[in-house]
Amino acid sequence: MKTENEMKISFISKSENEGFARTAVSAFAALCDPCVEDIADIRTAVSEAVTNCIVHAYRGTQGIVEITARILSGNELYIRIKDKGCGIADVKQAMEPLYTSAPFEERAGLGFAVMESFMDSLSVRSEVGRGTVVTMRKRIGGKDE
């Protein structure tokens, strides 16, 4: 699919950047005229993915989170969130709703479930020791507010 527009940001995996990241992506997404609900969905999905980088990928350390967002022809939003953290050994297990590797920090284990249900598609590629790439897509519009 043709890329109509693109943006990239990268930032240090500090928790105060969670708000920055979801706001930046939703400001970009606003260019394809989404409804209020689409924006809320996108903000939430991005927040989940970025939180995973901070809480899990770069646990006990600090690294760079890189986000690429594209508006594709047909008004489809593409978001890729990439880290070079510890990676996920068992992606299938990590994606199971309510599974968490950090129950004592009150993590609900719902990050991937939220991304999956709020976006049209979600793909997770990960390699232990090298990092994780989360890709999400969502068609914008076609729905009335």
Partner: protein, 110 residues
Amino acid sequence: MSVKILEEENRTVAVLSGEIDHHSARGIRTEIDYAVREKQPQELILDFSDVGFMDSSGIGLVMGRYKLMQELNGKVIVRNPPSHIKKVMRLSGIDRLAAISSGEEGVCRK
């Protein structure tokens, strides 16, 4: 993000405002737990009327307070969550642990 704690008879109301994510959840948790342990109320009301954003960190927050209130044989009521927050709550099934109330007083179990 801010939390305002209101003490009423037998209940503690935590009025939340701003955005709830992993970054802000810790501070909110500390403030609520301090008030609850001090007062030992029968009901903890989490008022979401002024919360503009919440991701699944907010679910962890509600779940954790549910466990705390269970230790005290009390309950948690989630008051007035805006629609996009209700959507996250429904996905998590948290509405089975904490009643979601949409008015000031009335509690409607879905």
